[in-house]
């Protein structure tokens, strides 16, 4: 089969090593904010990986995937507020609610396709978004502070920054591995076959709807888990965590990293969120080089740089960054 030492594999291993060693770097340099930043990146990478299951492999472009981050997060927040702090209750319940939501949304959405599917998933996520705004008891528009992270007793303490980061990273890697198994299993081939030619799938005897629905539920639950982690990370939830632009971000991560590649969205999430942080500084630095001083407000325009970069990737790198890496092997 293929060689192990391809540029792509080297890159993936290097990226994982980098993520794993990050807290060490933070410890040595004292830049602890970087752990906080990367905890967020790892959590959103998990959401992107889950979106990729339905979007990249199943061809179901959901424009409402952030709703599951919100659901996972709100289950944690609401339970915490009501005095139920045990993670053994909070986490399974969050996954259950995410799964049930995915089941009901999927049962309706999956009867449509193309643009209609995109619009109806967006509509459902907007619905949840406004429900959250209406929850006065849980902060409404302003959001809700979570007093205490999920309590796993003596088994695991989530309150330590570094430990929490590693927990998120391990869960992300487990998710990626899980997805790798799924997409190559019988179930995964049915899902991919459905993306490729659903009519043919039915003609050879597959009841495609039920497979797509289960796939939708799995993706929803995995994304719900990322919401659980995000709520625990920030100790705060608000409707903003499931704003539709967040769903858009997730799509960008998937496309940027590589649709239909299991690890691609992780690359995409890291690339997008690091760029978001780094570009303002880069602009500041560049203006310093060019005019000798920092131009007031120039940093605000970092999106002006990011936009064209994304455009170029989408236009010229089919398969995203991961696709580029794969081609590097062939050439």
């Amino acid at each position: 089969m293929t060689a192990l030492l391809t540029p792509r594999n080297v890159f993936i291993v290097a990226l994982i090593a980098l993520l794993a060693l990050l807290p060490v770097y933070a410890l040595l340099t004292g830049h602890t904010f970087i752990v906080t930043l990367f905890t967020r990146i790892v959590i959103l990478a998990m959401a992107a990986v889950s979106l990729n299951l339905i979007m990249g492999f199943g061809g179901m472009v959901s424009f409402g995937h952030a709703a599951y981050i919100g659901i996972g997060g709100y289950v944690i927040g609401i339970l915490a507020k009501e005095g139920i702090g045990s993670g053994f209750v909070q986490w399974p319940l969050a996954l259950l609610v995410s799964g049930l939501f995915a089941l009901s949304v999927g049962a309706l959405c999956l009867r449509t396709r193309g643009v209609y599917f995109i619009m109806i998933t967006l509509a459902f996520s907007q619905m949840i978004y406004y429900v959250a705004i209406g929850l006065d008891r849980y902060g409404g528009d302003d959001g809700l502070t979570i007093q205490k992270r999920s309590d796993f007793g003596a088994i695991f303490d989530l309150s330590d920054r570094t430990r929490f980061y590693y927990l998120c990273l391990v869960l992300l890697l487990i998710t990626v591995y899980l997805l790798r198994r799924i997409v190559n299993s019988r179930f995964g081939l049915v899902i991919q076959g459905g993306r490729s030619n659903e009519r043919r799938m039915r003609a050879i005897g597959f009841p495609t709807f039920r497979y797509k629905l289960i796939c939708f539920v799995i993706a929803g639950m995995l994304c719900g888990l990322s919401g659980v982690l995000l709520a625990n990370h920030t100790n705060f939830i608000s409707p903003a965590i499931m704003h539709w632009t967040r769903s858009g971000d997730l799509i960008v991560m998937v496309v940027l990293g590589g649709m239909g590649s299991v690890f691609g969205p992780v690359i995409g999430a890291v690339a997008l969120l690091v760029l978001e942080e780094a570009l303002p500084y880069a602009i500041g630095f560049a203006s310093y080089l060019i005019v000798g001083k920092e131009v007031m407000g120039a940093r605000e325009y970092w999106q002006l740089i990011l936009g064209p970069m994304l455009l170029l990737i989408v236009l010229f790198a089919r398969g995203g960054i991961d696709g580029l890496l794969m081609r590097a092997r062939r050439d």
Binding site: R181, F187, G193, S196, N197, R199, M201, R202, G205, F206
Partner: protein, 253 residues
């Protein structure tokens, strides 16, 4: 009644004012190769659509092996053993030929809610798929991406996928469409092999192939079956000559 495997009773399909299938009555007997011919717009595709379940008829009934399948969804008909090939090649282009056929095998090997084991390393699926590819002469092309196969090979793969579902009956929608002379001849040879073990309903434009292969022929014109019979009878039928063969023969010179 006769020994019909597929029996169509009074099938009617209307699109607005157009009657695409007009009270079609047709039996396909066990073991026969029954061909349906008809000029363009005769309603052949509409008929196939109803037989496979992609279109719902306005009236009439379809029985397969005695069971009423008129209201069954597409995938259920496939599980019962009614397999089809597509007129316009309909494959999984981003998979290899072997993957395509293996999926068809998998569809008839229990449910696919199996999430862990790598399906591409399941020898049962792979061997059955290879056997189907060998049968249509694509054994050597198993690992080639379908997008990179030739048109003729696509047509062969269409048949292999239908065969991989272990059908009792094949619905072949213009299997020779777009083929060269040589390829057509090879396809005729293959169908001749297949008709020994399978009941086949063949929809085809290639008259030479139809008359060489068919045990019986039905002629469809404006959604109606105007004649059914042995090839010799169809050739001699004056109504058929004017409606259809006349054109074809005129075209042949």
């Amino acid at each position: 009644m006769t020994d019909a495997l597929l029996s169509i009773e009074g099938l009617t399909k209307r699109f607005g004012g157009v009657v695409a299938s007009d009270n079609i009555v047709l039996d396909v007997n066990r073991g026969e190769l029954h061909a349906i011919i008809g000029p363009n717009g005769a309603g052949k595709t509409t008929l196939i659509g109803q037989l496979t379940g992609e279109l719902a008829p306005n009236a009439g009934r379809i029985r397969f092996d005695g069971a009423d399948i008129t209201a069954l969804p597409v995938y259920r008909r496939s599980t019962l053993g009614l397999a089809r090939s597509f007129q316009i090649t309909s494959l999984f282009l981003d998979f290899t030929a072997l993957d395509n056929v293996a999926l068809a095998v998998q569809a008839h090997d229990g449910h696919s809610f199996r999430f862990w084991r790598n399906a591409r390393s399941e020898t049962g699926l792979r061997q059955a798929a290879r056997a189907a590819l060998e049968r249509v002469g694509l054994g050597a092309r198993a690992e080639v991406m379908v997008a990179n196969l030739s048109h003729g090979e696509h047509r062969q793969l269409e048949i292999a996928m239908a065969l991989a579902t272990k059908p009792r009956m094949l619905l072949l929608d213009e299997p020779m469409a777009g083929m060269g002379l040589e390829e057509s001849a090879r396809m005729v040879g293959m169908l001749r092999e297949l008709k020994r073990e399978l009941t086949i309903l063949l929809i085809e434009h290639d008259m030479e192939a139809v008359f060489a292969l068919a045990d019986r022929i039905s002629v469809l014109v404006y959604g109606r079956v105007i004649a059914t019979g042995a090839p010799a009878d169809i050739r001699a039928n004056p109504e058929v000559r004017t409606a259809y063969l006349g054109e074809a023969e005129a075209a042949h010179g």
